[in-house]
Symmetry: D2
Subunit: 341 residues, 4 copies
């Protein structure tokens, strides 16, 4: 098929990741993570995120998010504050409500990001037994709108959360793209600025299927293994998940892959910038141009991409680690000629 701009999970597996899987198929290993490949993966996370990082392999992002939020919620009347477009609120089929029995409170946002100011209005009814009690702030880095928090913005959210007895969870399904955009380390946009628990995304970065829950608080780590098992995220032949994560963290493959995807998105944006406006800032591997409805329909007959907003006539165009300049230029030309036949 023509290169998809639908999502970075339309792509296959990065060759280095696949090689690592094949290499791990070397006889027996203890299951459930008691194997040397998983130990190496845990080391790789400590190297990348600092010594406080405890990493746990998970199957998918929803699983990592639900287990991670569950870890932070001590009582079932506690609630999670998240931006209204957050993946946990919009695209996880109510898994948090179902599995955790928790309220997710959607906080209004224009660009996918929230701030201490936008959170402040949600802190009502504290101590009132009739109301849910906010306990966790959850943000996505990159956001669902393709925007990126600066480390300073995250630090401010962490300070706000901690100052009000709350934790900060980060859905880092595309953390690699954010760090690549910011030019910072993985640690600088997470552990160093107060993130308590991170869902680290591998799959969209080039893995076959591998995510990690990274817990930065030793006192929380103990419960994680149980919550992972009960959350149906415990892999028996875990080595094959672990090596994917290690491969991404080795020689900063995560950054190479993400930076390339970002560059392809920027190239696509540059290729149409004179003809369109972008609904959100171009900061990662997803861009959100406004296109006339008939142009969208025409392009979707030849290309794969999502309509983001019917009412605003906005589409989402997303690149991956394996998107090529030719793919981008071909698509940009098609957009241009459809806009200006």
């Amino acid at each position: 098929m023509t290169k998809s701009f639908g999502s970075d999970n339309h792509a296959g597996v990065h060759p280095a990741v696949l090689d690592a899987i094949v290499a791990a198929n070397a006889g027996d290993a203890m299951p459930y993570g008691a194997d040397p490949w998983t130990s190496a993966m845990e080391d790789a996370f400590r190297h990348a995120f600092g010594p406080s990082a405890h990493a746990y392999a998970m199957f998918n992002g929803t699983g990592a998010n639900v287990v991670g939020l569950g870890l932070l919620l001590a009582r079932p009347y506690e609630a999670v504050l998240c931006p209204a477009p957050a993946h946990i609120y919009t695209h996880e089929a109510g898994a948090s409500e179902r599995v955790l029995g928790v309220r997710l409170v959607p906080v209004p946002t224009d660009d996918g990001k929230i701030t201490p100011e936008s959170l402040a209005g949600q802190l009502h009814g504290l101590g009132d037994e009739h109301e849910v009690q906010p306990k966790v702030v959850s943000i996505s880095q990159v956001t669902e709108c393709g925007t990126v928090y600066t480390p300073g913005e995250i630090g401010a959210l962490a300070d706000f959360a901690h100052g009000h007895g709350m934790y900060l969870h980060m859905d880092g399904a595309r953390l690699a793209n954010a760090a690549a955009y910011l030019g910072c380390s993985l640690r600088e946009t997470t552990a160093d600025v107060g993130v308590d628990v991170l869902s680290f995304g591998g799959t969209k970065n080039g893995a076959l299927g591998a995510e990690a829950l990274v817990v930065f608080s030793p006192e929380l780590a103990g419960a994680t293994r149980f919550l992972r098992k009960q959350g149906m995220q415990l892999s028996s032949k875990m080595r094959f998940v672990s090596v994917q994560l290690t491969a991404l963290l080795t020689d900063d493959l995560w950054r190479t892959a993400a930076a390339h995807a970002n560059a392809m998105a920027f190239r696509l944006a540059d290729g149409i910038r004179d003809l369109v406006t972008f609904r959100y800032a171009v900061q990662s591997n997803a861009i959100f141009p406004v296109l006339p409805r008939e142009v969208i329909e025409s392009l979707q007959q030849r290309f794969t991409f999502h309509t983001w907003s019917e009412t605003e006539s906005v589409v989402r165009l997303m690149t991956a680690f394996d998107t090529t300049s030719e793919d981008v230029d071909h698509f940009a030309t098609a957009i241009r000629t459809t806009l200006k036949p």
Copy 2:
């Protein structure tokens, strides 16, 4: 204490209800509803709501709401659409999420009421496994803003719900006040206009502590007893709950009590109407005047009532079945003199 304008649950018990409780203390009775008083209560509901009404005694409104919503939800990925200020969303401590594992979706509203138009925007992602699937519309009659749906408005919501494969649940904690305001029967604003399941409120109407879940679909009724037990709402000496409900339904005591409470609220509104504006229409036993912050503070030192909105400087003044004209006039005078010393 000075008569409270804080809530209709600050009041005690209507003498007729208390008499009924005392009268029911006549020797043994089979527990869990297998008693003649409960049968009589069920008959009274059929008389008031029509032959399709199956009534189940419950302890409190939250219990009735959670059991009622649970009855309508067949699968845990189904969601409930409700007005943002709905009691189930704002003042039940996340009981629905916890017990049912369900998403409650807050629908914006200015006056507590929702419409087919405001619901239409929530019907996205139908059939998409990543999104919760709307299955129930829940409304409050009277709303939390003191406003009242007309039977026609409820019918339109029921038609919309049923036309989209959804059910209509009504939180009728103050249904009596609504029917008294509308001058209609209980049936005309519920069963006759398409309500599927009703939480019928007795406590705020003069009961000691008695609500009923009224199920209008025979095929749903079978599961109710189990969900009530599992929902911790099954009374063992149920006769003492049932007789409260029967007392309210006898000789339309519900209407007498509610109409009086409404009249007292209207009298209060009339007493200050020239000096204040009301945030919402005056249609029941709660009025929502806008008062200067210092006036609120001054009055709250002498009277009991709630601040509804700090930011809008709105208070909620609520009357009960036992509020007297003297109570009202005393309070109205106080408001007037505080506003215009």
Copy 3:
């Protein structure tokens, strides 16, 4: 109807309790427990159970049990060990599993009581993420078999539980009968011997409908109000629940009522002891004679009581605070003449 021997919840309300309800109907009161009657109830519990007792009014026993167990469970992979015939396991419709998401582990027992020895075999898989982790031991006092733990036995269970990082919960639906049998105070069989959380039963002791959750650990008490609300057990006009509990605790009415019920059961046992064997020891207000099947059938046409075990041909005969000597003698004679026509 002829006096029932089916259950102590077939009885009505003790006059002193009903009087207290009527007396509390004195104008307005703050709702949800912020009223002087509830404060007095809390004092009465501290008086009866010692200064560490924090009492919370609940609607029914299942509600008290579920909220109480929920209070003790910090993580959803934790489990509750209970005797196989425990009410929480056999007659609460799976409320704990549903609301708490927890495993209840049935521990075999012959007479309704468990011991440290019978618990020891359940402590497997500790620290193994594949297995649920025992966190609470729950016992009933009186047990479902009518037997009574001595304070020493409870203390041994508490020591065992605490020694293994677990809590001890007591379902005291008939605690009054146990204390009356033991001739001890309420405190001596609960707080003084290590019970952490108690479901205190009022309804079967003569209340209209009132239970209390008594929390003996200050650090746990904070969450109780929220869990009660979310657990649909928060009464709005709480004074009418509180006064029932206070009435039972005043002048040891609980003991008078329970001792009478016990005495009536012992009288019934004495009246048939020469003709039958008892499946369990006679220690409270329930006796469990073995009767021939045809005798059971004949008696059930004239008297109300439950068959306890079809296979063992055991029935349960239960007395209440208002069972009279005449009721007992009439029934005993009927049993005798049916056995020996």
Copy 4:
């Protein structure tokens, strides 16, 4: 390491499965199962299990079990009857209770198998709102004790279940081993004898990590996609899970792999049969010899295997698709010489 006899999930991936994964890494594909590899997998299941089979790829066995049971439970007061040693009861950390809110009822068994007779005693309290209502019978094929149900035994359980308004779920984590032992097709021990929903195990049969939920009732299939997503089992790059399953179903690789594992277990049993007794019948790839405690300790210093029962001094020795005759003979000799030095 020396070949493990600890579990068949200590093994790596069958080369044919790994080849299939590598081959599927061919450019873009639509995610979440909308890809040709997943369609081919679905076809392969219909070919193997008959036209009624709807297959859904899952990450792991616990996920398949929980989603599958959830599909069969219409109401939260319904319960699952399963053998006491069932994996869902003993080794899934209470996932069913947590996610489904359901009671799992452990049915006593000596050899891991249950029968209509052993189920009959569990059907009490039907229609009684105080008791959970049995709705699903769940069996494991192969059982946790290594024993295998005949198709006739499964048919009898299905008839019993359906005759009482219940469904039959099969945890087929080692279904391949059972069918290989029985010499029958996959269909003959599932769809043809009344199984409603099957958790089909790929991982222990040679996959990297792939299970399938196979639903044999079209009316149930509709909800599966939603429950899978909400159950955190939806793979985004699903093709890489699907091809593993297809590889096992192609040219009956599942049978070749399982029959070999079985044969290795039988060879091991034959090698020590004159010296030991087996706790359970030898029918699959797990054998359970009774060994003296000191022999167990000595062997565990050199070999990897689990102690099954401390009290009975029973161990579990399990083979895999890649266990060799040399591995077996080496281990058998070690056992013999340790038993008879």
